[in-house]
Point group: C2
């Protein structure tokens, strides 16, 4: 009998096919096949092929938009939103719209043509996470924007157009619906129980153990109880932390290790799958929050979204998260 499971934070229902579980080798389509491009605008030496850099971690004496950097942040050449202008909310009868203002940046994670974050040295991964934090702190100062989403697309099937390892940051003038939904449900849980729903979940995952992928002093990664996708994996700080951008240096170092390790396990189990990861953090305009806890969601893109999912918001997952975690723990 398949099982219907509800993800407590989002309220999403997932159908877990507990009977005929898939094996990692069942997901052979759309794998991320590293192919060297003939020309890559993200490689060191090609700095003039991107818009001028916003920020970079550089060696002493090296100049902006020249070589000598470790991590480099540039505006997206084809931005989804534009930085100039005001929000200007207006209506048209029943409809509501506003100007598409926002920020759309690309974090180039290495000067070398490397196609996975897991190929980077630990210090380099720490630099990447530090750049995430630094950009959020900077963008937060612009009061037009209330949210900043950090995300990563790896592989064509996951929406990547360039293979050189990179992440993106999009800041928006409104809190995204999915985040708002998670916040509302987490707040309702807090109002009922005086507890953070994420802290509760972490406690239960540690007690049960069967969905844990890695656990360190400060961080845990596990396959969520109601995973939408095979091998979906979340990373959370064990302590109640609201904003990603409040991360301290020693926490960044440990997170870099957990992130790289978790991704390496996925790559090993699934032969370099296409994947997305996204970071959900508390909106900029909420200073303190007792109920929202930042987290990273890693989504391997192995299955197709079809009519049933589009029509219901249900997901069908042929891989029970308990089995996925067991496979990942061994990698």
């Amino acid at each position: 009998m398949p099982e219907l499971r509800r993800e407590p934070v989002s309220g999403r229902w997932v159908i877990i096919a507990t009977e005929r579980a898939a094996r990692p080798t069942d997901f052979q389509t759309n794998h991320h096949q590293p192919v060297k491009n003939s020309f890559c605008p993200f490689c060191e030496g090609n700095e003039d092929k991107t818009p001028p850099e916003i920020m970079a971690y550089r060696g002493n004496g090296s100049k902006a938009d020249s070589s000598g950097w470790r991590v480099r942040v540039v505006p997206n050449k084809f931005p989804a939103l534009r930085t100039e202008g005001e929000q200007n909310i207006h209506g048209e009868g029943i409809y509501e719209m506003m100007n598409g203002i926002g920020v759309h940046e690309v974090i180039i994670e290495s000067p070398k043509h490397v196609v996975s974050l897991t190929e980077l040295g630990n210090g380099n991964v720490e630099d990447v996470l530090r750049s995430y934090r630094d950009r959020l702190i900077e963008i937060k100062k612009d009061k037009r924007f209330v949210y900043g989403l950090l995300f990563k697309n790896v592989g064509v099937a996951a929406g990547a157009s360039l293979e050189h390892t990179h992440s993106q940051l999009i800041a928006t003038p409104i809190v995204p619906q999915l985040v708002e939904n998670e916040m509302e449900r987490a707040e309702a849980f807090f109002n009922n129980s005086s507890k953070c729903i994420f802290c509760d979940m972490i406690q239960q995952e540690i007690a049960v153990g069967k969905r844990i992928v890695t656990s360190t002093e400060k961080f845990i990664s596990f396959t969520p109880f109601a995973s939408r996708f095979p091998f979906e994996t979340w990373i959370l700080p064990k302590k109640h932390e609201t904003h990603f951008e409040n991360l301290q240096k020693f926490e960044i170092d440990e997170l870099a290790n957990v992130l790289k390790n978790t991704l390496a396990k996925l790559e090993s189990a699934l032969d370099f799958p296409p994947y997305n990861f996204i970071i959900h953090s508390t909106p900029f305009n909420i200073q303190k929050s007792e109920y929202f806890h930042w987290h990273i969601e890693i989504i391997p893109r192995l299955t197709n979204i079809a009519g049933f999912e589009w029509g219901t918001g249900f997901y069908i997952n042929p891989m029970p998260p308990e089995e996925a975690a067991e496979i990942l723990r061994k990698k």
Copy 2:
């Protein structure tokens, strides 16, 4: 400047790239390429290759699970949910789950190996819609199920595993989250305005005209103001109708015509794109509803869903619906 638009029923935000609009020829990937399979279990003569039929429209004297049918409904051989058993809601600490009971049926739309609904004669399309209605009426009698989603996946990129033209029906023991969300927002709109939000939208679309694809006496198809995807198209009855299964014969005939015509326009403009369509109707356990209005959502699958969409619930649509409608009207 891109435009942020909000879909009034779901509350979804969409980024419409009004500046650099795409052209239909920009979407060249993943097109639905009809390929004849060597063996097709849905073709007439192969009735023993599917589970025994639940219902079929047949010529006089022809027997169940033999040839002589026009439309045939069979259980899905690999069902997402199982018909036997009880709901049995239970918890595990913070988590909630239940048995995966439900109905999962396949509507085989033609005895011939045809790969698009648009290749069927009008009478045949009417039979398909009539089978949708008849199955909903039948399944509704089982009080364990509160919702039935009719949907269609066309092309591998849209999740189809067989090309022979078919639709699916999944009935669930709970109202899907997306439908519940639409119902809640529609109810709130009704409580504020004493009007059905869909009726209001239809009125505005007719007045404005620029997003209409087809309009007949009883039905309208248009590209929604906040289309998530290029060429997304909705079909609605102009009169306030709550349940798809309440359709009368003369309405079915007209809807068959509008559906076939709208799909033919999409196939002509986009060279047989992969697509999904889904039907949202009022849940079985709500007899009357002044605020919810059934509708068909057709989603061509031309663009990729990536980290930003997964993290926010926003969609980026490079094709303004006004331009899409203009292209479709001319086809």
